[in-house]
């Protein structure tokens, strides 16, 4: 026997950390779980964002409808131009219709259309107001039309105007019958002229600033003074009174009358004129109390003078055009005839405000408004403001007559569209007038609206359907992927141990995800088989070694049996001790390998028992078998009940104590502690001694991992592995860490309650 074999131990230095060499080294990835989750859009969000791309479809639809609309409007414009051209050629060469002499003038406030009475002969200016009234025809109420500027205290009894206008070959006549409770005359001491009851006359010729004339009286009866005025109506341009217009003032019982005669030459061929009647009631302050005007918009805007030619009107009557307004103008920009209205038939202006509605109605009305705004529904109300667009007529006419050619334009006002076409009327080489046709473009807009609303409904249904379909699909997909991820993660622990060798759900699906699930499942199965093979390996190895060991053991027995003198032989005993150590190794290998199966078989033996009682009993036993060590039993006085197999928990405690005894400092105390927390019961074994080696702290519970380098004892590192297996079988977790208060290690098993 060589000297090397006589020593039962090999020097530890020859095996630098043999345990690490023994175990296939791998780094546990505690942060693996965390690295899987990255901030990013989820599949469902991505797909839903993709749905938003569908919104380009309505945008395209809207665009094409808009294109169609402008195409239709263009067609309508051309049609209007053609019509205007037709009318113009019909009227070409008819200077007779456009003579200034044949016309019938009208004073036109925009909402006020008095037609002057045609008089056969001049009206005697000296005749009384009553006579005038008889000759000019019935007096029109001034108060019911036009605009007012007055205080809130105004009452019709206090100020009321009726009037009539007439025209003869030479003169334009106007009669104002004014009801006024307090008549204030001009105060000659005052320089400013806006301090008395008065009549204002505004004349506007095309392209010129308006001329303003003030008519006022100093006494009860007699001629009125007339001044040309500054735009502020306060100071006269010249101090001289004008005499070209004859005006007579007469105080009546209820107020006063004013008779005005204006030579036609003074008005001019294309001028527009309108009147304002001013009422001052306070003798002292002499402030203007009320203004009544023929213009609905006050003095800023001037009404028009129509010079109607009845024959012309007769001529164009058959040219009726739907929702169109045809006007014939002479070259002085006076309307000679007009036909039709721009408003569609049966049009009624909408009520200005909505009466009290139920809240629900209001909400639905609001929704409709939003919808209308989105779709640009031609609001019929806006046709009212079309009237305001009349101001735009003149530049168009001017353009047309100056250029001598057809001009057309599309006007927008809010949601309303108006197409206007002007065509000059020729007589020989001269332009004698112009035709203006205005037609509402709302018919096209209505078609557009109908198309759009059908489109919107269609699109909304398709969009909703697709959104729901993709949403459901995406949710399902996300759910399946999440489920697969969860099950895959649950199949292994963070330190790479396999807990489950299959994927339960989603393996029957026929799509790629199903294939992936099946691949992962079969991968886990292969891994599981390999793991089981590895787990079985120690057992198989032990079994194979037991037979030759038995040969050695029984041969030694037989040797002893045959040769009684060898009973206490040193070498025989040494061989027996070697066999004993080998058996110990094999037994612990077998125990660990069979543990899982054994635990499963014992599941029926599980019961609810008091951990405190078990620990107390066990610690007494440890104290008996290890008299050199002090065992401190830190347990609560109340019972701590857990569910499991008491024998196995005792086995777990045995292993923990073995570990503590082995690695603890000689003669140091070992503390066994039971701690009851709200949800868990902790069983800890604490020993003095060296700390856990850093490189092992994650792996002490893995099989065949041990920090021991003492070759005299077998340390397969299976003790803590058995602890973990038993703990996990009982749904408990087990952790090992360095003691906080002193050098040493604390192993804690946390059982669920």
């Amino acid at each position: 026997m060589g000297p090397g074999l006589t020593s039962p131990t090999r020097p530890p230095s020859s095996l630098p950390s043999p345990e690490l060499q023994r175990t296939p080294s791998y780094a546990p990835h505690a942060d693996r779980q965390r690295s899987r989750q990255r901030p990013a859009l989820r599949i469902r969000t991505k797909l839903l964002l993709l749905i938003l791309a569908l919104l380009t479809i309505p945008w395209m639809g809207y665009k094409s409808v808009r294109e169609m609309e402008s195409f239709l409007l263009e067609g309508q414009r051309q049609a209007l131009e053609l019509t205007a051209e037709g009318i113009a050629s019909l009227l070409s060469g008819r200077q007779d219709l456009f003579s200034g002499l044949v016309g019938v003038p009208e004073v036109v406030g925009l909402a006020y259309h008095p037609i002057p009475t045609e008089l056969k002969e001049s009206l005697p200016f000296e005749a009384s107001g009553t006579q005038w009234a008889e000759l000019l025809g019935p007096l029109a109420d001034y108060t019911g039309s036009g605009s007012y500027e007055c205080g809130t205290e105004f009452s019709p009894e206090s100020f009321w105007v009726r009037h009539a206008v007439g025209i003869s070959d030479e003169y334009f006549y106007a009669l104002f019958d004014v009801v006024d409770d307090i008549v204030i005359y001009r105060d000659p001491d005052r320089l400013k002229l806006d301090h008395s009851d008065q009549v204002r006359l505004t004349l506007e010729s095309p392209g010129q600033s308006p001329d303003r004339y003030l008519l006022l009286s100093r006494k009860k009866e007699g001629r009125m003074s007339m001044y040309s005025m500054e735009p502020d109506w306060r100071t006269p341009l010249t101090g001289d009174s004008l005499t070209i217009v004859a005006a007579e003032f007469k105080r009546e019982k209820t107020g006063y009358t004013v008779r005005i005669r204006i030579p036609e030459d003074f008005i001019g061929k294309s001028a527009r004129l309108f009147f304002e009647v001013i009422d001052v009631d306070d003798q002292m302050s002499r402030e203007i109390r009320t203004k009544i005007s023929t213009s609905p918009v006050g003095s800023e805007h001037v009404g028009q003078v129509h010079l109607t030619t009845p024959k012309l009107a007769e001529l164009i009557r058959p040219l009726h055009l739907r929702a169109a307004n045809i006007t014939i103008w002479d070259k002085e920009y006076r309307v000679r005839a007009q036909l039709g209205s721009i408003f569609p038939e049966g049009y009624k202006p909408a009520a200005a405000d909505r009466p009290d509605m139920a809240l629900l109605d209001q909400v639905s009305a609001l929704t409709l408004d939003v919808m209308d705004w989105l779709l640009r529904i031609p609001a019929t109300d806006d046709l009212d403001s079309v009237t305001a667009l009349n101001r735009l007529d003149e530049p168009l006419l001017q353009h047309s007559m100056r250029e001598g050619k057809s001009v057309s334009e599309l006007r927008r006002h809010g949601g309303a569209k108006v197409i206007a076409a002007a065509q000059p009327i020729w007589a020989e080489d001269k332009i004698i007038g112009s035709v203006l046709i205005k037609q509402s473009g709302n018919r096209v807009a209505t078609i557009k609206h109908a198309t759009l609303s059908r489109f919107v409904i269609l699109f909304l249904s398709v969009f909703l359907f697709l959104a729901i379909a993709i949403g459901v699909f995406a949710t399902r997909l996300t759910y399946r992927v999440t489920r697969l991820q969860r099950e895959t993660e649950q199949a292994t622990t963070t330190d790479g141990r396999l807990l489950q060798d299959y994927i339960r759900s989603g393996t029957r699906a026929g799509d790629e995800l199903g294939n992936l699930t099946r691949s992962i499942s079969s991968m886990l199965q292969n891994l599981g088989q390999y793991t089981r093979y590895l787990e079985k390996l120690p057992d198989t190895l032990a079994h194979e070694m037991n037979n030759p060991l038995n040969v050695v053991a029984s041969s030694l027995d037989y040797l002893e049996y045959q040769h009684r003198n060898l009973v206490d032989d040193k070498y025989l005993n040494r061989a027996r001790s070697g066999i004993f150590r080998l058996r110990t190794i094999l037994t612990s290998l077998t125990e660990a390998a069979n543990l899982k199966e054994a635990l499963r078989n014992e599941q029926s033996d599980e019961e609810r028992f008091n951990l405190v009682e078990l620990v107390t009993g066990c610690v007494d036993g440890y104290q008996l078998s290890n008299p050199s060590r002090a065992f401190l039993n830190h347990v609560p006085t109340s019972p701590a009940l857990i569910h499991g197999t008491p024998d196995r928990i005792a086995q777990l405690l045995d292993k923990l104590i073995d570990n503590a005894v082995q690695f603890g400092r000689e003669r140091s105390a070992i503390i066994v502690r039971v701690n009851e927390l709200p949800n868990i019961i902790q069983l800890s074994v604490i020993n003095d001694g060296p700390s856990l080696p850093k490189e092992l702290s994650e792996r002490v519970f893995d099989p065949m991992v041990s920090s021991s380098t003492d070759a005299r004892h077998s340390h397969l590192g299976l003790g803590l592995y058995i602890v973990r297996e038993i703990a996990e079988f009982h749904g408990a977790t087990v952790t090992a860490k360095d003691r906080g208060d002193a050098n040493g290690v604390e192993v804690t098993v946390s059982f669920p309650k």
Binding site: E544, N546, N547, A553, S554, L614, C618, D620, D647, Q651
Partner: protein, 231 residues
């Protein structure tokens, strides 16, 4: 005629050792290396006792098959399994086949001889029961030490030799704790883990409970051992 013992073991070294030691103790020994030769021999002559290895060459359960065959021919011939397989599954299988004992390798020859003696004596008692049998009675437990049989509430329990010895040692001193070390000595096997004792106790309890579901006389003293609790 000498008592005949059949040894079926595929490992020649082990087989020869068993044969040598048994022959030295005065038994006639027939040794077989495989299942088929043993089967052939058992059809003509039954041994008085059979020692079987479970794994015979490539045949993983050859020993079990042989045991079944022996049981078909005789309900009483004692069978001892000596095997390297140390698992509960195999232990339970052996019990189902009414094997009398299950010994894991490596086995002490002294222990083996003692077992063979004991089992043969039980077999003899079973064949010719003595009228003045020594029966120990504790509560409803009757222990017949000659036939090594145990009755609970009058019904016979089917225990292996080791199980019988454990129950007997517990019941002999009711109320006294038998430590794990004491129980390991009782089993007379060289190296036994505490958990192996736990396994024996578990199987013993379940056998009692097959007869009496409320059986609770064998009590655990955590960390120390077990005791027989008297009423």
């Amino acid at each position: 005629m000498a008592t005949t013992i059949a040894v079926v073991e595929d490992d020649a070294d082990q087989r020869d050792t068993y044969v040598d030691v048994l022959m030295a103790n005065g038994y006639a020994v027939n040794a077989y290396a495989d299942k088929s030769s043993a089967q052939l021999a058992f059809r003509t002559t039954l041994p008085d006792l059979a020692i079987l290895d479970i794994m015979l060459g490539q045949d993983m359960d050859g020993g079990f098959d042989l045991c079944m065959e022996l049981r078909n021919q005789s309900q009483t011939v004692p069978v001892i399994f000596i095997t390297a397989r140390d698992s509960d599954v195999d232990r339970i299988s052996s019990q189902r086949m009414m094997a009398w004992d299950y010994i894991t390798k490596p086995v002490s020859l002294e222990f083996l001889v003692a077992r063979v003696h004991a089992l043969l004596s039980i077999a003899t008692h079973l064949q010719s029961p003595e009228l003045n049998a020594t029966v120990l009675t504790i509560n409803e437990l009757e222990i017949d030490e000659n036939s090594m049989s145990i009755r609970w509430q009058g019904q016979r329990l089917n225990f292996t030799l080791t199980e019988f010895q454990i129950v007997e040692s517990l019941a002999r001193r009711p109320g006294h704790v038998k430590t794990y070390d004491a129980l390991i000595d009782v089993t007379r096997q060289g190296l036994v883990e505490k958990n192996t004792i736990n396994g024996y106790i578990r199987r013993i309890r379940s056998k009692f409970r097959e007869i009496d579901t409320g059986f609770n006389h064998i009590q655990t003293v955590h960390g120390t051992g077990y005791k027989w609790a008297q009423d």
